[in-house]
Symmetry: C2
Subunit: 454 residues, 2 copies
Amino acid sequence: MTAPIDIDRLEAEVRGALERRELEQLRALLAATYPPDVADVIDRLDDDDQIAVFRLLQPEQAAEVLDETSLDATRELISELTAAEAADILEELDSDDAAAILTEDVPERQQALLDAMDPADAADVRALLRYPPQSAGRLVNDYFVAVRPEMSCAQALDELRAIVHDSAVIVYLYVVEEGGRLVGTLSLRNLLVVPPTQLVRDLMRPNPIAVAPEADQEEVARIVSRYDLAAVPVVRADGSMLGVVTVDDVLDILVEESTEDVLRFGGASAGQPDETYFTVPIRTAVQRRLPWLLLLFVGGSLTANVLGMFESELEKMVALTFYVPLLIGTGGNTGAQTVSTLIRALALGEVRLRDAWRVVGREVLAGLVLGLLLGIVAFGKVLVDGQIFVLAGAVALSVVAICVWANVIGALVPMAARRMNVDPALVSAPMITTLVDATGLAIYLLIAGAMLNL
Amino acid sequence: MTAPIDIDRLEAEVRGALERRELEQLRALLAATYPPDVADVIDRLDDDDQIAVFRLLQPEQAAEVLDETSLDATRELISELTAAEAADILEELDSDDAAAILTEDVPERQQALLDAMDPADAADVRALLRYPPQSAGRLVNDYFVAVRPEMSCAQALDELRAIVHDSAVIVYLYVVEEGGRLVGTLSLRNLLVVPPTQLVRDLMRPNPIAVAPEADQEEVARIVSRYDLAAVPVVRADGSMLGVVTVDDVLDILVEESTEDVLRFGGASAGQPDETYFTVPIRTAVQRRLPWLLLLFVGGSLTANVLGMFESELEKMVALTFYVPLLIGTGGNTGAQTVSTLIRALALGEVRLRDAWRVVGREVLAGLVLGLLLGIVAFGKVLVDGQIFVLAGAVALSVVAICVWANVIGALVPMAARRMNVDPALVSAPMITTLVDATGLAIYLLIAGAMLNL
């Protein structure tokens, strides 16, 4: 058994071998190491060492490593290679992976490298690039086994043996009619346990689940995970099969999407798929962030009007002001907790729309308890600050009211979004904070005004 | 080709058939429908119809449907079945899925149902339950094919044919020595293309990647997605093989984790895996939320001290107060955008620690541009409120300074976390908001004090 590898140790071994110029030993060490681990070590090396290590790899492993290195390292490695060398390596990759490198990592050399590639491989890559970014068409792997319904199972197995591409993990065979229409799937495992003379037609599962080349990759991921597939066929509008999207690509999509959810929750929108942090022009980054900030700013500027309405109270007692940021901050924090809990519960199907009132009841109760506990702390804090007893009471009571209110808002907004068929995950923490700010202020100043007779 | 099914239409068909009592037609319709789709329709029906539809399913499909229905529906269906009926259905499921239903959906009937199950199946489930929740041991599927290194490839294929469990998608065979130690893996596809007399020993990939039964499910997902595996073997400390975790379980884990990231970013922590929104006692929910709120409250109470330091300025001009919530709110929103962008960039490897100063430079520039644009709006807002020109200038200048400052904080905090080997995803929006609140206030009041000669 090989436990997850110790990258620090591998890095030290590689550096040591480089220093002692033990290139043959290093070559053997690298050949015995999984490509993602080699890629991690290369990511950590200086530019000169990166290319030195990379040149020791066999072509097929080099391709897999290049597919796994970080953007910086991939660019650096390709820049050190001649177009012919780089093209040889790209040819070893599945066309979807080669297309991803050419569009995301070295877009400026895309044409030159495609021209240097074997024409057939280049044509495969160019075919993928015709589909929009983040679509199923961009992820298509065309190493799949197609069989005819009238074949025997023995003939189907012969078809499988004729496919030479080694890296394809084949779980299903695809049953395709004369004319190219996909009509069924066959699991390799089932094929092995039936009599060889049985017809494919009688063994296949009809009505295969498939996606269109234009389908968004998120939709592809949803289907693969919903139906527990190892690969999903991509089928054109005329019913003919373009290829398959395999589950390893779906895993990558889900990892990517999960960071997009955080981005969204922080009130920033994800950009184009080919972009990375440093490749987005600042102008573009600002353009994307501004509308959202502006909207929140306009919503937030209501707080100035609320405070303006209480000008005379604030003049009579300036100390009222001191607790404004603390109170609205606490409301925002409580609301952010509730909204993230609800987004998750809705996404996992733990809560449905018809549960709305149960949810509100629960959150009111939780807000009450949290508010009472924080209210006690707030009471002490105001007294320690040297303020009068009644002000301490007003702040404490406001904490309770604001916690309850923020919990209700944090529960209702994502449910309202679901009701209006908007993805609840689009509700962000800043949105809730801004909603709670102005209303929380009014609650505080009304309570304080009444208690202090201002 | 079957496109993703139209659940609304399927629901209408099922309801129609139920109403017209066309049970035989309904049985045929259900048999031709994929289990997740049947489960979705059942989720939408009333309790009586749910069980009526469920009873029309064949045992194997019933099991798969029960595995996919929502918590509420699963509980309802099981409560309508006798222990013997429910046990029959659970026996059809892989033991990891049966264990999940018994612990998450009907924990109160766990013992009774296990006692009613076939002793061998029950023993398999009980074995899984010995491992901690969310560990690899809980996800183990024991339908795998073990072969000996000294077998021929033809013999290995015979072993595969002897495994009768139909639902197992088999991609790899596992090579196990006398004594039970896992020594290699064999892809089914490779096995089919070599001469039947070749020895397993010579074809297998040695040093297989494996995980321990105690490994956290997140670690399992990371390994499966890192090495693009279709299944990962779970190996005990003595090297013997317990079973495999298949990629469909990993997909489910990733979907679950992605909602956990949002939860964390909102400042709420995920609970135990067996819990759902409604099954967590409110007392527990409050206990989990309180420490974090309390910490933020104590941090946030600094704002009261900052405001107290500027008491005389605030007394001279109460209107200063009006813009406090707006300014610190804007700082919080800007900071939340930056921090979520950085968390993503760090997670995807687009930004590394050595890029820190480039990142700060970029965020200062972006903050400056965003601040200037928002500052213009702020300037107008203050004038519209009827305040003096110099106050409008002070607020506008503060917006610029606070946007820059919030961007720097939002960029540096996740990088500092990475530096200290803390997961940057643990940095939450409320944390940044609270950090920016007190400092943003001080910036505003210093600028305003200087400009207004207070």
